[in-house]
Structures are given as C-alpha cells and as structure tokens.
Symmetry: C2
Subunit: 350 residues, 2 copies
C-alpha cells in the first residue's frame, strides 16, 4: 500500500507538494503536478481515508439517521435512501446508515461525538424530536427530512403535504366528486403527532371547505386490511361518497379489493387517489393506481445537497425545500356518477 511519502520520493518532491496537488489548495506548477500524478498512477496510490480524516478533521461521510424498527422501510423511504446515497457519491461523499430512532439519543450522542461523520440526514422526524435538540446542542450540521413542530431556524426538506392534498382533492373535484373520504394514517400516528398525518388532515379539511364539498376522515393502519376496514367505515358514515383519498399505498390496495368485492367498480362507481405513493406499488394494483407520486429519490438528493452545502460553506442559514407529490393519473380515477351519488345522498338524508 503506497503512502504519500512513497509518491513524494518517486516524484522527487516533498510530501506537502503531493498533498497540495491532491487537495488543490495551493498553486502547483504544471510540470511538478504532472510528475506527481504520474507517480501516483504508477504506484496505484490512494490516499488513506483515516489519515486524511484525522488531519483535516473531516471524514467526507454523512450519516443517515433512521429508525429501523419493525416492518422495515417502505418504497418511499427506500427511494429516499438511494437518492441520498447517489447524491452523496456524486459529491465525493459517503453515506453511512445509522439505525437511530427518535428514542435512542445516547447512540446519537456518541455517534456525533466520535467525529466519524461530517453531518447528518435525519429521517422520520417527529413533531418533537429529541435527536434535533441533541444535534443542535452538539453543533453537528444536519438536515431534516420532515419537519418538527417548530421548524424555525432549521434546515429541512420535506414533502409538500398541503400542496399534495390540494392537488389530489382538486383532481377529484374536477371529476365531479362531491363527497370524499380521506383515509389517513393510524390513530396512533395521529395521537403521536406524526407530521404527515396531522398536516394532511388539516389540509384535507381546508380543501373541503374551499371547494364547498363534504367529506369524512378515517384513520387506519397502513396495511391492506386496514384499508378494507377504513373504506367500510367511510361508506357507512357517508354512503354518498364517490371519491377516496388515501394516505398509504398498502391501504390503497386493500380499498380497491374491498370495493371490488362490494360489487363497486373503480373508477366507474368510486374513484381512488393514493397519496405519497411509489410507482412500483401504483403499478401493482389493477387497475393501476391514480396516485400522487412521492418524490422519494429527489427528496433524498435534495436533502443531501443542502447538507453538503452547509458543510462546504459553514452555512447556518435556515433552509426549507418542499417538494409536492406529482399527480399521476392512472386507472382508478374517473368522472363521478352523478346519479348514484344523488341517490345515495337522498337516502342518507332520510
């Protein structure tokens, strides 16, 4: 394993010269640079990452904090991870997976204090998240994926849930739907103050009022079974409903199955729009789900870029970037059946 000293000797220069052609932090004459580069090539030289890190106080590694509990990652989270990894690599950085949830803050404490990582990407951010306070205290650069309750002064990148709900509702309204159900995350998520669940709930209510239509919100588990139960409840509460907005892609498939078995046609009788959905899962359904495609990879890349920018510029400014999910009309949304809706509405009134 050749070291910098070997390269210097071979090129007939000092180690610092070699170091400077590597880092580019001071001018080197064309001639010597060439000699050094040649020597490196001949020796298959690669700088030792540890030595470089120790001397420069930077590792060129960023940590991705994510809770690794239970069911594992969904498609959106996975896309986020890969997006972040790619973006880091393109900038010459590495990405380390750190299984650190909102709970285990001593893990994070030691991680951050070890100086192994230059900064952190924080996934699955809770509305009040101890990791955030800790990182602030330790003065570790970080970027949130998601938002805390009080996002003031923090750098974060997130899905624009408000916009996404607005777009989804608008799509249904344009198709003539006047009674819409919103199948949200679980009651537990809502109770724990999970940001996406809370934000979409509020946005849904606001959208209903703005459009002057009626709706119902049913929280449920993020599974097909959860979706089945939720759509049943929603139809009991609002027999007139012709449109369904669903937060979770797993639940969305359950909803489709339940409607089919109830003898209802999608999108003939009921339209279903799935929020924050990956293309793979959308295409899994039959018909393929009309969905708000989550910008997973783009989010990951954006978060990484923001983090690297602050690392480079020592930029402490607040930075927010919100990416909406893009409406992708596939096979589960269509014009509302006026007749049926009216009939059911009449029945409901009695």
């Amino acid at each position: 394993m050749a070291t910098m000293t070997d390269v210097a000797r071979r090129a007939g220069v000092s180690v610092s010269t070699v170091s400077y052609v590597l880092t580019g932090t001071r001018p080197i004459s064309e001639a010597t640079r060439d000699r050094v580069l040649a020597a490196m090539a001949e020796l298959d030289y690669q700088p030792n990452a540890m030595a470089r890190g120790l001397a420069s106080r930077k590792s060129n590694i960023v940590g991705l904090l994510l809770p690794l509990t239970g069911r594992g990652l969904g498609a959106t989270e996975t896309a986020f991870v890969t997006g972040a990894t790619e973006a880091a690599r393109e900038a010459g950085y590495h990405l380390m997976l750190c299984p650190v949830g909102a709970a285990d803050s001593d893990e994070l404490q030691s991680l951050a204090t070890q100086r192994l990582l230059d900064g952190f990407l924080v996934m699955e951010v809770q509305l009040t998240d101890r990791r955030v306070e800790l990182l602030q205290k330790l003065e570790s650069p970080f970027v949130l994926i998601g938002r805390t309750e009080d996002g003031a002064g923090l750098a974060c990148v997130d899905i624009d849930f408000e916009q996404t709900v607005d777009d989804a509702v608008a799509h249904l309204v344009e198709l003539g739907h006047e009674t819409i159900a919103y199948i949200n995350h679980s009651p537990a998520s809502l109770a724990s103050g999970y940001g996406p669940a809370k934000r979409t709930e509020a946005a849904f209510q606001a959208a209903l009022e703005r459009h002057g239509i009626t709706g119902v919100m049913v929280p449920t588990e993020d599974t097909a079974t959860g979706g089945r139960a939720a759509i049943q409840r929603a139809r009991e509460e609002r027999p007139a409903l012709t449109g369904v907005l669903v937060m979770n892609e797993n639940a969305a498939l359950g909803i489709l199955a339940e409607l089919r078995e109830a003898g209802l046609d999608v999108p003939g009788d009921v339209s279903v729009v799935s929020m924050v959905t990956s293309e793979v899962v959308a295409d899994l359904a039959s018909p393929a789900l009309t969905a708000m495609t989550s910008p997973g990879a783009a989010l990951g890349a954006a978060a990484t870029r923001v983090l690297l920018k602050r690392l480079a510029e020592d930029d402490g400014s607040t930075y927010q970037e919100l990416l909406p999910c893009a409406l992708e009309v596939r096979g589960t949304s269509g014009r509302a059946k006026k007749g049926k809706a009216a009939r059911s509405a009449r029945a409901e009134r009695q």
Copy 2:
C-alpha cells in the same frame, strides 16, 4: 471535545493506560480503571474514530456494495440492508452504503484501497462478477450475498433457491396440481446468467421430473404487466395448468389480476405460489399471496456475522450458508380441480 490526553491528565495516569482500559488489551488494576472511567464520564469523552482508525488500521466500518441503478430496491433487498445494518451495529460496527455495481470496478478499487472499510458485503452478485476478482486481488475481506459461477473458496450467504423451489412445487403437488407454470425473471436476466433465475429454472425442471408432472417455464419482466403477459402465454401453451409458481412478487400481483379478469377463481381454479416474497407485498394482494417468504433480514444479518467473524479471526475459510424461503400458506393456493384440469388436458390433446 475532550481527548484521551485530557482523560489521562484528569485521572492522573498516562495516555496508554487510558487506551488500555478502552481496548482491554492488557490488565489494568481495578482502582485505576475506575478512576479512568470516572474521568471519561466527567468529560463526556468519546474516542475519536479517525485517530483510532489510523492507529489501529481498522475503521469498524463495513461497506455494503449494491448497484443502485434504475427501479431502486425491492422489499427483499431492503430487508437485507436493514438486517445487515442492525447486525453490524450490535457488534459495534457501522455500515456504509456503497453504490457499486458489478460494472464499476474502479470505484471499488479506490474504495478498497482507501482503507476506509474493514470489509465488504457484496449484494446482487452476478455469476461472474468482476468485483469478486478485484476484492480477492486486493485481499479485502468480503462476503457475498448470492453466489458466483464458481463459488469455491468464497464466503457466501444466499437464499437456498433449490430448496425453495422444491418446497413450493411440493406444496402444489400435494394439493393435486399436475400442470404447473413457472414464471421466472426476464429473458435478459436469464441471458446475463443471473444466478437466482438460472438456479430456479434448473430446480424447477428437476422437481417436475421428480414428481412426474408437466410444466412450462415463461420468463418475464418483474412487473405486474409482465406477470399478466406471462400467465397468458403460459395458459396458451398449457391450457391444463392449475398451478403457478412465480419468481417475482410484482409479477405475482399481475397474475392474480389477469386470472380474475379471465373469470378464473384463485385458488378455486388456479393456485398461485409466489417465491422470494416479502410479507408486506404478500399481504397486499387479495387474497393474500401464498408465498415463500424471503429471509431478507436474516440473510443480511447472517452475512454480516460471517464477515465480522473473518475480520476478528482472520478466518479465510470458505463458508457457505443457505437459507430457504419459508412457505407461508395464505389465500392463493388450494386443491387442484381435477375435473377442469382433465377437461382442458383433453382439449389440448386434440
């Protein structure tokens, strides 16, 4: 940020003593150990990972090599990653995500030469994989997930595809199925010599012969659409078929939809067994998929443990660990309809 020198001073000992209480590589009297530990606690001391790495020539980081191209990771791969990450953390190691496919070997070359990583986990191994040769040449410890053509002398952990196919076919045979289709990965995968595709193909043929039943193999894309096309072709070629084995979970959902639309009941008319499937996706289907559940997380953990063991013991021995997928009977498999199969079989003969 307290350093080891600070701790030593505070505890009234030398730095080497502090180092030894940390590494435990030489006996320390109870009394001084306590003093050192106390000093560490008071100072919130955490060893500097870079310095430690430079001096000890080990980073306590393992790299996970995985191609990050295109569609992103499936549920099984994701489970693998999380399993590996968890296992590493439990052993005091970190895991770095390295987007390095079978193609980009210079990336790997420099990665391995930088001495940032103590060893490698190699995912998505091709039957002939340049990364393997390279790692061997560079004498970097590594463990494969999957197998190369000639696995002699290599440490690897993989799904036991042969056993999995055997179990799946046996399940169908027990239910009375006598004509079975195997929907494999894409023709391109087969052509490129992708291990799982080749192995399962061979195992399927062998199982057919052993049970004395007939079958047909149709390769197809790993999508719902691909599954639809494949089941159509399979039924054209073997109208009598009552059992379907499918390699890819996405295709499996397409198959269910296509059969339903063709007026066939699952599992009444046709049984479907999905191989190497994640529980989440299995539960997404209606009815839920009878499937061979892929041991994703277990594989990741096993691979990590094997790697860490060789790191610890400088163990160069060949090691193979094959984990079968476990049969999980859900809603898509049932007894074969003798009558219908016989009728179709007769029709076919004419």
